[in-house]
């Protein structure tokens, strides 16, 4: 189990681009927003929380096809499926590896990008907390989507069509806790709901992902 996780992490660090790319995308996306809607600081502060959440979500989305695609192409996935490790655990580990290489760097980078968007100071703790609590759900949901589309050639667009509606609740609660935090309101309830989505999806979706993988490996 640890071996699989280590392997995924090493591959992500060494096989150029996978690790830093989503972070770079997050930066580019965030810096494009003021260009698109105008640089007035008041307006930017108002939408900063939502924009950062959207950026994190899209950065996650763009890295999803790496989760299973390469392993599927070179046959590693067959080996993983025939190994004594249950496929459900393998799917959960893949989601964890994806979160460690994509979600966690995004959480670390978000406060710096918050400065660019003039996010109110009161919102920073909520921004970090909601991203830290919410991005694992994005990885778990995305792993399920990647498992469903792994057998499809050029499935990238289909993957986004399948996964984005599933991202809706996480996005709403995550962005809501930042915007409530920015307004000085109590943001604990949406934060807890985000945590609930994360816990629920990481409990259930590895099973769905594993059953999708079994169909695709048949």
């Amino acid at each position: 189990m640890i071996g699989l996780l280590k392997r995924d992490l090493t591959l992500a660090f060494r096989a150029g681009g996978g690790f830093g790319l989503s972070l770079a995308f997050f930066l580019v996306f965030t810096s494009l927003v003021p260009l698109g809607i105008g640089p007035e600081t008041g307006r930017l502060a108002e939408i900063a929380g939502g924009v950062l959440w959207l950026g994190a979500l899209l950065a996650c989305l763009l890295s999803l096809d790496r989760i299973f695609q390469l392993d599927w192409e070179d046959g590693t996935l067959d080996l993983i499926a025939t190994s004594p490790l249950p496929l459900e655990a393998a799917a959960a580990l893949k989601a964890l590896a994806h979160w460690l290489t994509t979600g966690l760097p995004l959480v670390a980078a978000a406060p710096i990008l918050g400065l660019l968007l003039n996010l109110p100071a009161a919102a920073y703790p909520w921004l970090i907390a909601s991203l830290a609590v919410g991005t694992p759900a994005l990885s778990a949901i995305g792993t399920f989507g990647a498992a469903i589309t792994v057998g499809i050639k050029r499935g990238g667009l289909l993957l986004s069509l399948l996964v984005l509606p599933l991202y809706v609740p996480t996005l709403i609660f995550g962005a809501l806790s930042v915007s409530r935090g920015a307004a000085g309101l109590d943001a604990l309830t949406p934060l807890l709901l985000t945590a609930g989505i994360t816990l629920g999806s990481s409990a259930i979706l590895p099973f769905a992902a594993a059953s999708a993988l079994r169909v695709n490996l048949r």
């Binding site: 589309t149 057998g151 499809i152 069509l161 399948l162 984005l164 509606p165 599933l166 999708a212 169909v215």
Partner: protein, 247 residues
């Protein structure tokens, strides 16, 4: 061809299904036409205008039934997907596939008629209101589901994967509904037809509305039966073509 069935599961036999659905189909079609034409004419021409909303209120006779059937269609797909996953009956998987475009169109009708009604009443074509947003997301779920059916060549794998997607999609559709309620306050009015509510529409509107709901229900059954029969025939044709090549 109307023999009493000993078990519901006998319809899993495609031949049985074709025979029975073929016998039932003209009746259901006639019922759909009767209820729809009757309900719409009743609603459009024989009910008074609302004292505030004028004649625009009459769009309710299309909007409400379409919206009800749009969500019901997803639950029908959920049931059919579960039957496919548990008992591997092909007819069930094909019925779920057949229902998706119908449900998608009903969702679209609901969104469109709502926009047409909302423009004069609320002053805007679209509001990010909980019900509207949830419906838009339901529409996206339908699109993704249909796209997944199209994308996979192996029919059994496609049935499996879309069924799993339908299950997961249902859970997330429900969560989205609550998320959106949290996120925004409601502009859309509440239930119009619940049994005990004070705010129900008056009987003079409710009876034609119920008729229209019946019409949309039978329309849904008719379309799904037609489309399922087409899918079964297409599958048979494919099998014949493969046989021909083998020979």
């Amino acid at each position: 061809m109307f023999r009493p069935m000993s078990s519901f599961w006998e319809y899993a036999n495609p031949r049985r299904f074709m025979a029975t659905s073929g016998a039932v189909l003209p009746w259901v079609t006639a019922l759909a036409a009767l209820f729809l034409i009757g309900g719409l004419i009743w609603g459009f021409f024989f009910t008074p205008n609302d004292f505030r909303q004028g004649s625009t209120v009459k769009i309710i006779y299309i909007h409400v039934p379409a919206a009800i059937m749009a969500t019901s269609a997803w639950f029908m797909m959920l049931a059919a997907s579960l039957i496919w996953l548990i008992r591997r009956h092909h007819v069930s998987a094909l019925a779920a596939k057949a229902a998706a475009p119908v449900g998608m169109v009903f969702t679209l009708i609901g969104l469109f008629t709502g926009a047409v009604w909302g423009q004069p009443m609320w002053g805007s074509w679209w509001e990010w209101d909980p019900r509207l947003t949830a419906f838009l997301i339901l529409f996206l779920f339908y699109l993704g589901y249909m796209a997944l059916w199209e994308a996979i060549e192996n029919p059994d794998a496609a049935a499996d994967l879309t069924s799993v997607l339908c299950l997961v999609g249902t859970v997330f559709a429900v969560i989205s509904r609550y998320a959106i309620l949290f996120w925004n306050q409601s502009l859309h009015q509440g239930a119009s037809l619940s049994m005990d509510a004070e705010e129900n529409v008056a009987d003079v509107f409710a009876y034609p509305l119920w008729t229209c709901i019946g019409g949309f229900f039978f329309l849904f059954v008719t379309l799904v039966l037609y489309r399922t029969r087409t899918e079964i025939r297409a599958r048979r044709l494919n099998a014949l073509i493969v046989q021909e090549r083998m020979a």
